[in-house]
Each structure stands twice: as structure tokens, then as C-alpha cells.
Amino acid sequence: MSSEQSRGYLPRDRAWHPPALAPDYKSSRLRSPRQPLLVLPTTLSEESGPVFGHDIIGPRDDDLIHNYAADGHSALGPRILVHGHLRDQSGRAVPNALIEVWQANAAGRYRHPNETYIAPLDPNFGGCGRCLTDADGYYRFLSIQPAPYPWPNGPNSWRPAHIHFSLFGEAFAQRLITQMYFEGDPLIPLCPIVNAIPREDAVDTLIARLDMDAALPMDMLAWRFDLTLRGRAQTYFENRPEGL
């Protein structure tokens, strides 16, 4: 059976994503729409999207170890390489896609005006970076391992170590923000934000795997984190022979 990509995008599987209201994640209580979303097919407005060229990416944008550090200095913390493959739901690689990341430092502190945690700032760590996927949909960036931190949700709530990811595909319909967690972190199953995701196998897709094959000896460990964006709806032509 052969198929043809149409311009329209597959509907989001809302049972796979976290619901708007996840009561154990307290901030969702007053910020979750209560009316049903109005479901419509994608139009040109959602099937188009911004294009980002290499011209916006600076030489150190993908190196959070150095992109905020003073000359000759680097951020504190375990040095890590994060890499992976960006595909859509049909398995097609998404090339030239902008990936933006942000994270806490190695003490669990964000560089942000509203941050109040007592852990120290690292003068050589800003916490933001970005890269484009290559022609085959692969990306990589360098950073330091972020630490877990406490947050005002329950009486003793801690976020597992994580890196925030903002992803652009080819269409505004594919726009996605998510978080990457680290394999083996015992805080993952305790986190109300993680647990807003209804299915354990869905959570599992957000856990990066230690990747010793990509680790740089005497330099940095590597973590592998693959991502999937919304795919186009397919139109199947049942009357065509296999393989054409």
C-alpha cells in the first residue's frame, strides 16, 4: 500500500498529552480552560510556519558551557553532550528545525528575575541555548548537568533534573514545548508535572538515555534524547501495488 503526504496535520492525541487540568500540579487549577477545545482541521494558517536560517545561530549558541562564561572560564557542573533525532509521526526526519533549550544550573538555580531558590548562581552560566537540526534531523548541544530543585507546589515538592525544549517543525501546528529528564533520576516518578502525563510509556519517551558511545573520553558524558513532532495526515491509495 502506498501513501501520499497531504498538507493537513494529524490531530493531537489528547489522551497521550497531559490534560489541561492536572490537580496535583497546582498551577494548572486556575490556568486550565474548562470549555472543550474547538476541534478543527488544520488550515494554511497552521500548516505554514516560520523558517529559521543558520544566520540567527551564533557560534556558541549550542554550547551552554561557554556561551555566558567570561573569556577563559566555563560553567560549573558535570559537562554533558545532549543529542538526538527529530522526526515527525510518520518517521520522517525534520531538518533545519530550531530547538531552543533552557535549564537550571548545577546547583538547581535559574538565572531569572522571579527565581527565589537559595542555591547560588553560577556567574559563568546563563542557562539558554539553541541549535538547528541538520539535514537528517539530528541535533546536539553541550551543557552542564542541571540539578533538581524544590518548588512551591506541595509541602516538599522537588523537580527532577530536567532541560526544557522548545521545538519548531515546518508548521505552526507542530509547535511544541516539553522537558527532557535523565535516566535513573529517582525524582521522576514523584513529580506532579511529569505525572500530569497519563501514560507511563509516554513519560518514558521524555527520559534521555545515557549514551556511552557518544560520550567524549576524559571530557563529557552524553545523553540521547529523540523527539517526535506532529505528522501530516496520510492519504492511502489502496489500489496501487506495493512499493510504488
Binding site: M1, L10, A20, P33, V51, Y110, R111, C128, L176
Partner: protein, 204 residues
């Protein structure tokens, strides 16, 4: 249709309270990493079209302004063309990128969009949609980015023909998507996440 080969999308997670670090670092005080914040300028002096500004706030279920949201914008140029490779009807204005990003102010929650009035874009069946700005809202407490649209209240004829607005029930909720003229070229558009005036959000 077989969907054996269809993978799941990566599940969404909230952008959190510090989304500005990654999306608008200069605005949040992180200078020197990016020359300018992505999406911070929608137009330049040569962009064609009528200048409009849209200001507003986002309110939570207690009617308190949201102080930590980021809104992304995507719109057609003044001629109704998207600056995108999938645009087949013509070439969009080279001085218009179509994409922008604004944040709610940390103190008041007010956001401000400086752009041009978009042209009309066809619906899949060929009917014309009314001028609109596509919005995607992320913040702490929002688990999946919220899709909505800003339409312009002074486009009553076009709005009456718009297939997306026509699909809204009850009809009174259409008003939640209409930016109201405030002054010459200035519009007001408040977003309500919950409550009697809850904004229409889409799953498109």
C-alpha cells in the same frame, strides 16, 4: 487507514515560570548570548501594510493577571500571504517574517504586539478566512500550549464569512476572539483562561 507506522508525538510539558530564559533571554536579563530575542520584531520600516498594535492581558480563573506567559504569534502579510515554503499563491512581503513572540510584563501582565493588519487567507475549501493572528500561549500551569486567534472587531463583513468563527457555539463566545478598537490603529485583546468569559481555544 492503517496507523501501524504512526508514532506518538512527544508529550508536551509546561513551559514553566522561567520560559523567558530560553525564549526571550535578553528580556529576562540574560544579555550577551543572543544578539536579539527571537521574534521580538515583527515589522521593520519597509514592511507593507497598516500598522496595528494589540495590547492585552491574560487572566486566570481568579481573574488575576498572568504575569509569566509568553505568546507566540504567526500571521499572514498584508496581502494574505504566509512567508513559508508551503505558501503557493505568491511570494510574501520580504520585509515581514510573520512570526513573533511577546511576554506578559512581570508587574502588570500587559503584553503588546506591534504588527501589521494581516490579509485574508483561504480555508481548505477555498472560502476566505477573516484577517487573524494565530496565537500559541505557554506559561507555568499550562500543560499543552493553548491555540487561539486574534480577529479584529472592525472587520465585521470578513468576520461574518469566516469559517472558523462560524463554527463557534454558543455564538456569544465569538466575541472572545475579537480585538476591540481602542484608538487609531490600537486594539485591546484580553485572554481569559477560565470563567464566564473563557476565550475560545482551538485544537487545530
Amino acid at each position: 487507514m492503517a496507523d501501524d507506522d504512526t508514532r506518538h508525538e512527544s508529550p508536551s510539558q509546561t513551559a514553566g515560570p522561567y520560559v523567558h530564559i530560553g525564549c526571550l533571554p535578553n528580556w529576562s536579563g540574560i544579555a550577551g548570548v543572543y544578539a536579539e530575542d527571537p521574534g521580538s520584531r515583527l515589522i521593520n520600516a519597509d514592511t507593507r501594510g497598516e500598522r496595528v498594535s494589540v495590547t492585552g492581558r491574560i487572566f486566570d480563573g481568579d481573574e488575576a493577571p498572568v504575569l509569566d506567559a509568553v505568546i507566540e504569534l504567526w500571521q499572514a502579510d498584508a496581502g494574505g500571504l504566509y512567508p513559508s515554503p508551503v505558501e503557493t499563491r505568491g511570494v510574501a512581503d520580504p520585509n515581514f517574517g510573520g512570526w513573533g513572540r511577546v511576554a506578559s510584563a512581570f508587574d502588570s501582565g500587559e503584553f503588546r504586539i506591534d504588527t501589521i493588519r494581516p490579509g485574508r487567507v483561504p480555508y481548505p475549501d477555498g472560502r476566505l478566512q477573516a484577517p487573524h493572528i494565530n496565537c500559541w500561549i505557554v506559561a507555568r500551569g499550562i500543560n499543552v500550549g493553548l491555540q487561539t486567534r486574534i480577529y479584529f472587531a472592525d472587520e465585521s463583513d470578513a468576520n461574518a464569512e469566516d469559517p472558523v468563527l462560524a463554527s463557534i457555539e454558543p455564538r456569544a463566545r465569538v466575541d472572545t476572539l475579537l480585538a476591540q478598537p481602542d484608538a487609531e490603529g490600537a486594539f485591546r485583546f484580553d485572554i481569559h483562561l477560565q470563567g464566564e468569559r473563557e476565550t475560545v481555544f482551538f485544537d487545530i
